[in-house]
Each structure stands twice: as C-alpha cells, then as structure tokens.
Symmetry: C2
Subunit: 204 residues, 2 copies
DNA sequence: CTTTGATTTGACCAACTGGTCAAACTCACG
DNA sequence: CGTGAGTTTGACCAGTTGGTCAAATCAAAG
C-alpha cells in the first residue's frame, strides 16, 4: 500500500481510475455480482496492482459509498426555509431530476444497495439521513400549517420526490425501451413540475 | 430430471418449495449474489436434489420471472376503457400499491433486474410490455383529449404510478427506517389518492 | 414381498474468486 | 549514473460455486 504521506501523481491518477471503474462495475452488477478482476480491467490495471491501492473489494465499495452519500443529499439540504415554499419544492424536484440524468450510475448504485435491504448502509440511513429528513419534514409541515402549500404527509411527499426522480435513472433500461426514440428527459421536467404544482398549489 | 409425464405429488411439492425459496433468495441478493446452495437450503433440499428438479440456477430464475411478469401486468390490463377515467386510474394506483404491500419480493426481484440493465428481460419488455403500454397510453390520451382528466404526458403518467407504488416495496428498508414506528402503508393509499386526484381532476 | 421407477445423497470436479507474495521494474532525485 | 522508494506483475493459494455422477434409498403397484 502507498505510504501515509501525500499521494504521488501516480497514486492520484490510479485511485481515481479505480473508483471511476468501480462505479461503473458496481452500479451495473451490484456488489456481489462484481469481481475485482472486472474493476481492475476497467481501470486498466492488473488485479494485484489494484489491490496495491485498495486493501480489498469492500474497501473500494465503502470509499465509493461514502463519497456518494454526501453529494446525494445536497439537493435536499439546499431546501431553503426562507424561500417561497412551492418554488423551493419545485426547484428541489428539478435538482433531483438533474442528478438522475447526470449521475445515473450513482443513483443505481444506491438503488442496488437499498433494494437488497441496505446491509451496508443501514447505519448511515438511520443516522445522517434520518436527521435530515426529520428536519425537512418539519419544514414542509410548517409550510402546510401556514397554508402556503396544500396538505400532504410530509415524509411521503419526500419519498414521492425521490421515487419519481430516481426512477428515470434506476429504471432507465425500461423507460428508454418504452419511450422509443423520445428522450425521457425531454418531457420529464415538465411532467414533474405540473404534477407537483397541481398537487401543492393552495386553492387560494 | 423428472420424466415428461404428469408431475407426481412429490414433484409438485418440491418444485413449488424451490420456486418459493428462490423468490426469497433472488429478491434479496440478486441473481449473481444468490447461490444454489442457499436456495436449496431454504427449500429444505440438498443441492444435487434441487438440481434434480431444475437443470440449472438460470432455469429456476427464468421460470420465476416468467410467472412473475404475467401477474405483474394484470393491474394495468384491468384499466377499463369503459369506466369513469379518474376512478379507473385511482383504482389502478391502489391495486399497484396493494401489490407492493402483498408481494414485495416480486417487486424487488423485478427491480433488481431492471436496475442492472434488464439483461435477462430486455426481450420481454420490448415485446409484451411495450404493446400493453402503447395501448394504455392511447387510452389515457383519449381521456385527456375528451377533457375527462387533466392533460399530462401519458407514458410519464404510467411511469409515475409504477415508480410511486413500487417504491414502497423496493425501498422498503429505507422507508421503514425513516418512518420509525409508523407503518408506511397506513398513509400511503391516502397520499397517492390525493396526489393523483389533485393532479388529474379537471378544473371543470 | 418384489420390482421398477422416482428420489436423494456423498463425493467429486473444473472454473472462478478474493487476496498474497516475492521478485522485478520504474521513477524521481541527489 | 545510482539508489531507494514507489509501482507492477506472474505465480500462487484457499475458499466458493455451479454442476455431475454413481450409488443408495424410497414409494407404490402388482
């Protein structure tokens, strides 16, 4: 393994290449379905060479996940209590949709984990995510109580946003097959904006 | 392998036990992540005994999938052109939600496949599912043109229904962690009914 | 009880997998 | 250039996996 000093030029390049390759492989075959050899080949390295940079397959996976989770929650963190409620929510939906378009592999990697019961993520979800969700659910509830958006179960509202936006990344294979030539991301932003606008705009 | 005759009592029992066990194992570890031994043990058989009833791991998987897909599409098939549009759609949503509650393993098995690019399902999706979706999208479009429900991209409308309902099965681990004691299925039916009612009810 | 086909199993195999290691090679720097 | 740290690799290993097979056991019909 590389010493505990500042990473060399080669270390930086290779560790980045490995993580990039691992994202590709893990997101399309899951943890168990991926092999170290696959990742090594995708990164342009031999297997022992890869294991010179990471102590194990699981270590690669964990580092990938740690990096992922942070950026994954950013859009929700950015939900601003001071903003105009409906516009804040619509903007959040669009940010999440954007992420599904720009980082589908990250979304699928996460989905893969959760679908299989989140064996490697349970702690993180129970800790960080739970706190954030609790906080934002309160915020949404406040907006509803003030009559600034229609009432709806705040947590289910969050679930629905995640579900609808990530669907375009996670079920990409199905969506694209059924849409034919049309790019799903052409109409999706409009569709979701309409959905949440009609659902949340107060009757006035 | 059992001969090509009518299945014996033991054959019926064991094949059923194997498929039941395989559903359990495949849905929680994916195809690649599951082992024949795991399935055999879960079915109460030895590995060679299991392979006496099915020629290979893939054969078990395929039989499982074939059976699944049919029942999976039934709720959509039942969307009735003669019914009252909004109520038909709301009933469809509730049927799908019901299936997520009653058959979460089936939902996760399907999700697992699609997330990983549907390598073993591409043909079926392109054929059967595509025809059905095309037909029902037309039906929805007709209802919209007649002003009986609000306008929205019909295929995206279907995607959203699948996404929102299956989310409760596929992301069960996450949803339950974040909901604490509260059963997600308590509020979900109400939430989804409200969502689609607000979205689709024409302004009149 | 015997016979015949259905069922079950222990022993085995070849391929694959994650990971190790000593030896070789490369690079930066004095 | 030389040298020592950083890098790469072929050979190897032990455990796992999907699958086979001959022999043993069981069930049911005569």
């Amino acid at each position: 393994m590389p010493a505990d000093r500042a990473p060399t030029r080669i270390q930086k390049k290779n560790r980045a290449a490995i993580l990039e390759a691992a994202l590709d492989v893990f997101s399309s075959h899951g943890f168990r379905g991926s092999t170290v050899d696959q990742i090594a080949k995708a990164a342009g390295l031999s297997k022992p060479n890869l294991l010179y940079y990471f102590p194990s397959k699981e270590a690669i996976f964990n580092e990938l996940m740690a990096g992922l989770l942070d950026t994954w929650l950013d859009p929700l963190r950015a939900l601003d209590p001071e903003g105009e409620p409906l516009e804040e929510i619509l903007a959040y939906v669009q940010r999440k949709l954007q992420m599904s378009r720009d980082f589908p592999r990250e979304s699928r990697l996460y989905a893969n984990e959760i679908v299989q019961g989140a064996p490697r993520l349970h702690d993180v979800i129970a800790a960080d995510l739970n706190v954030l969700v609790e906080e934002k659910a309160q915020l949404l509830q406040g907006w509803m109580d003030a009559g600034r958006i229609n009432r709806a179960h705040p947590k289910h509202l969050l679930f629905s946003i995640w579900s609808l936006t990530q669907h375009y990344a996670d079920f990409d294979a199905q969506v694209r097959t059924l849409m034919g030539d049309e790019d799903p991301f052409d109409a999706a932003p409009q569709y979701l904006e309409t959905l949440y606008r009609r659902m949340l705009t107060p009757k006035s």
